[in-house]
């Protein structure tokens, strides 16, 4: 593969979006966890819950700000590096981004300042409302972004306008209630909740291992395990819903994720392990579970799932049909004031395949001149590279099940074993902290790499979407991003670790006094510190 402006722009987008996505999941989940903690504080009036709110709130703030800052990059990047994409689908894609600003981002950003600075300026309930508004704002943000992303995966409610050379919206509600977008939204926010739960669990486990801030850590674990349990189940179940949607909206992505080279008789088997070989179109050393894939993908025993070979054949047909659409488009454009109704009819018949003709633009300027070999080549291009998809998907799923197991265990210990946790389990919880980030990044990878070679599935190829820039410019900004983002990452991690080591530092006296009184009440003895053992 030659490395040109398209590949460089893709690399830049992947790096900046994956970096952005290091901060987003924690923001989504921690905003809610913090709001839950503050709710407990307002209901019970126990100062320790306020201290917990402030402590986890501080960590939330350190993370939140980088999510905000790196999010701006994303919004700029469409116009900077993908200007043809912006022109071609801005009519649909821009709307959810703008509504995200109006409905969600203003909300979270306006109130996040008050969350940190308003403790003395607001009533208790007032401040609680602010905390929830920040959480709701963050989560609505995710909704609109995923409506935009869902449209790239499953472009509904829009059609091509030959006069403006772009896609235009025909039905906003189809864009809004796109089933792919909805499934992605719930899957992604659940992933964020799991991330925050694992984070709170891990950090609290570390305190227990050290014998520090035990009261706060135990309560935090209880909240995190309950919240995490629900989220871990929902992330896996709703991920399955995403997969089910993929079966009809993006058949090629599904086939590539599963390494399904040929259509198998229904119900297809699920390949647990294997080494996909793109050249030979085979998966070596495959281990299958019979029937499973058919059930997951189609929820039936009789519907077949098309394999890669069959999908390539379909793509070839669509490319040929797209060339007709392209030809008609050229005629319509040439005589725009007086277009031939026959050409218009011809265009309308084939316009759904116009994007497939654009796949040829990689090889020649005018798709109408393409040789049969070039058509075949373009059809083969519709297959994404299989092995990275095959593997990232499986690791993500395995991690999903690991989260469920962890959360069940901690929930059980917290609820029925008097919040006593064995040391190995606490160690495991600490080591688990990076896992949700890995799973989230892999999930993003599966969704976006699996969409290749398209930016908008079946509509606009990635190769056509880029700006007319020089290699120098994009290389320059790429290097700047890498340097810049690395520095920020080191700074962020440094602060995060500093504040975790420091522990809760606000309202310390008041909370300690309350904890002491509370424990006395519980045990009926003076100076008893029953819960002060680090762990079993």
């Amino acid at each position: 593969m030659e490395f040109g402006i398209v590949e460089l722009s893709r690399l830049q987008f992947a790096l900046t979006v994956m970096y952005h996505f290091l901060f987003v999941p924690l923001t989504l989940g921690l905003s809610i966890l913090v709001a839950i903690m503050e709710t407990v504080y307002v209901i019970t009036n126990r100062p320790i819950w306020r201290q917990m709110t402030k402590f986890w709130g501080t960590l939330f703030g350190i993370n939140f700000v980088l999510g905000v800052a790196t999010g701006i990059t994303m919004e700029f990047q469409f116009g900077m590096n993908w200007s043809y994409y912006s022109h071609y689908v801005g009519d649909i894609f821009g709307a959810p981004l703008a509504i995200e600003g109006l409905m969600a981002f203003f909300l979270e950003a306006t109130f996040v300042g008050l969350f940190f600075f308003g403790w003395d300026k607001l009533s208790k309930v007032g401040h609680l409302v602010v905390a929830w508004l920040v959480a709701i704002g963050s989560n609505f943000s995710a909704l609109w972004i995923l409506i935009a992303n869902g449209w790239m995966q499953n472009p509904v409610g829009a059609e091509f306008n030959p006069m403006t050379m772009r896609m235009e919206m025909t039905d906003f509600f189809q864009v809004l209630f796109n089933e792919v977008a909805q499934a992605k939204f719930v899957h992604t926010v659940s992933a964020g909740y799991v991330t925050a739960a694992v984070f709170v669990l891990g950090v609290s486990a570390w305190y227990l291992l050290r014998g520090r801030h035990i009261e706060m850590a135990r309560r935090s674990i209880t909240v995190a395990a309950a919240f995490g349990l629900a989220s871990a189940f929902s992330v896996v179940l709703l991920g399955d819903e995403s997969g089910y949607n993929t079966t009809h909206s993006q058949k090629m992505k599904l086939a590539a994720m599963e390494g399904m080279w040929e259509t198998e008789p229904a119900p297809a088997a699920f390949t647990v392990f294997g080494i996909p070989d793109q050249e030979a179109r085979k998966t070596h050393y495959a281990i299958h579970i019979p029937i499973a894939m058919g059930l997951i993908g189609t929820r039936s025993l009789t519907t077949p799932i098309p394999g890669i070979a069959q999908l390539v054949d379909q793509a070839e047909t669509r490319i040929k049909s797209g060339i007709i659409a392209y030809d008609a488009l050229m005629h319509i454009r040439k005589n725009r004031d007086d277009s031939n109704p026959l050409e218009v009819k011809r265009f309308e018949t084939h316009s759904a395949d116009l994007g497939f003709a654009f796949l040829l633009k990689k090889y020649l300027d005018d798709p109408r001149q393409a040789t049969p070999e070039q058509v075949q080549q373009a059809a083969n291009d519709t297959v994404p590279t299989v092995w990275p998809l095959f593997w990232t998907f499986r690791i993500m799923v395995a991690l999903g099940f690991a989260f469920i197991a962890t959360m069940i265990y901690f929930f059980y210990r917290a609820s029925f074993k008097g919040m006593r946790f064995p040391r190995p389990a606490l160690h495991l919880a600490v080591w688990m902290i990076p896992a949700p980030w890995i799973a989230a990044e892999l999930g993003w990878f599966v969704a976006e790499f699996g969409r290749q070679p398209w930016t908008v599935d079946g509509i606009l190829p990635t190769a056509m979407s880029v700006s007319a820039l020089s290699m120098t410019e994009v290389t320059l900004t790429l290097i700047a991003y890498i340097v810049f983002y690395t520095v920020l990452f080191v700074v962020e991690m440094g602060l995060m670790l500093k504040y975790i080591r420091k522990g809760p530092f606000q309202d310390v006296e008041e909370t300690d006094a309350w904890v002491k009184r509370h424990n006395e009440r519980l045990t009926g003895r003076r100076n008893a510190d029953s819960l002060a053992q680090p762990a079993e």
Binding site: A98, L102, F111, F117, M169
Partner: protein, 387 residues
């Protein structure tokens, strides 16, 4: 869905042209004082405690203010996709610099006071200064370029191509007129930052902010006047020629455009638009007087009025042009040829009508809760929780 035909395409386009202005002005009057405070930081605050006073006047609100900028970008993307595509890729390196500033600034606010180390804090103070002053300057430079026309053209497929070598997307932008426009925007936002600090800070910070802010107000007035004279005698304007429709498909190549002697002929065609520059001048003058006299609320309001006047004067003078092309006038972007579709403009308008009043209401409420000065005592007493 046929609901969108309730409002004419042409009218929707004009409304969205107006909303683009509202967003830019909203950004300039809110985030503008954040940038102004950043640009003033090294000069109005010498000690750590003074710097924290200055920073904490904007501490709780900069994040919400910055959303005007993000929403501005989103709205251009949604309502004016060709403008978004051409300007963001055309001003590539300049955009990157602005972007870098908008990434550094939040981090600098948030992280600056999280460590005691003096070097750590000084570094972030410089970051705040640069990320306030540089974009404040570059926004004006960009406007200066747009007024003169930008060298780009569209291909038949509507790929936008920017003329010239890559480094021209930064250095090429810095011609004398555009630098003057940059001085207008920088001094205007410094003036605005000065007015904000006069209201929200006290002691030395407030005193210095008044002094420097009033100098900035004078510079803003003079450079704005100079730019007006320059436009009257030295800058060409653009106009659409031949027959055209205002509710047709958004394709710039369907229009014919030619250069004219000056943009300012707009003032003889539509004399009422003179109210915009007038507001710019009067507002600037009253801000100057207010800063000298140490008045607070009224000064900030006059400063806002000045910004409103200056920004709308640019838009009203150029109407219906949004971004003319100097190298291929036919590719110029106007209100009539570079909007989203009829339906998208309508959907976005509905969203704006629903959410904008809510945003204004809760933003006003937040400012009300935070009403009052930030003093050195506040910073010392809440050292842990403040920036």
């Amino acid at each position: 869905m046929i609901l969108h035909t309730l409002i004419d395409y042409e009218i929707l386009r004009v409304i969205w042209w107006g909303l683009l202005g509202v967003l830019l002005i909203g950004f300039a009057v809110t985030d503008g004082f954040d940038m102004g405070v950043g640009a003033l930081l090294p000069f109005v605050a010498k000690t750590d405690i003074e710097r924290r006073v200055a920073i904490n006047t904007v501490g709780p609100v900069w994040e919400g203010n910055q959303v005007w900028f993000i929403l501005g970008g989103g709205a251009i993307f949604a309502a004016w996709p060709p403008l978004y595509a051409v300007s963001f890729s055309g001003f590539y390196l300049a955009m990157f610099v602005i972007l870098a500033a908008f990434i550094v600034r939040p981090v600098a606010f948030k992280y600056r006071s999280k460590r005691e180390d003096a070097r750590w804090r000084t570094t972030w103070d410089w970051a705040l200064f640069a990320s306030g002053a540089i974009p404040a300057l570059l926004f004006g430079v960009a406007v200066g370029n747009v007024i003169q026309g930008v060298p780009f053209h569209f291909t038949e497929d509507l790929h936008s191509i920017y003329e010239g070598a890559w480094y021209m997307k930064f250095i090429g932008l810095l011609d004398p007129f555009s630098i003057l426009a940059g001085v207008v925007s920088l001094s205007m936002l410094v003036m605005h930052g000065g007015a904000w600090l006069t209201l929200k800070a006290d002691g030395n910070v407030r005193y210095r902010a008044r002094r420097i802010g009033s100098v900035a107000a004078l510079i803003a007035l003079l450079s704005y006047a100079l730019a007006g004279v320059w436009m009257a005698f030295g800058i060409e304007g653009y106009q659409i020629i031949g027959d055209y429709v205002t509710n047709g498909p958004s394709n710039p190549l369907h229009f014919d455009v030619a250069k004219t002697a000056s943009w300012l002929t707009a003032y003889s065609d539509r004399p009422w638009i003179a109210i915009a520059p007038l507001m710019g001048f009067v507002g600037g003058l009253l801000t100057f007087v207010g800063l000298r006299a140490g008045r607070e609320v009224s000064t900030l309001l006059f400063s806002k009025m000045s910004i409103l006047g200056v920004i709308s004067s640019v838009g009203l003078t150029m109407f219906p042009f949004i971004m003319p092309s100097s190298s291929d006038p036919q590719s110029s972007l106007t209100v009539w040829n570079s909007s989203s579709s009829h339906m998208t403009l309508f959907v976005m308008l509905v969203a704006t009508v629903i959410f904008m009043p809510m945003i204004l209401a809760y933003t006003a409420w937040v400012y009300k809760v935070l009403w009052g000065k930030v003093t050195e005592a506040d910073v010392t007493d809440n050292s842990n929780s403040l920036y």
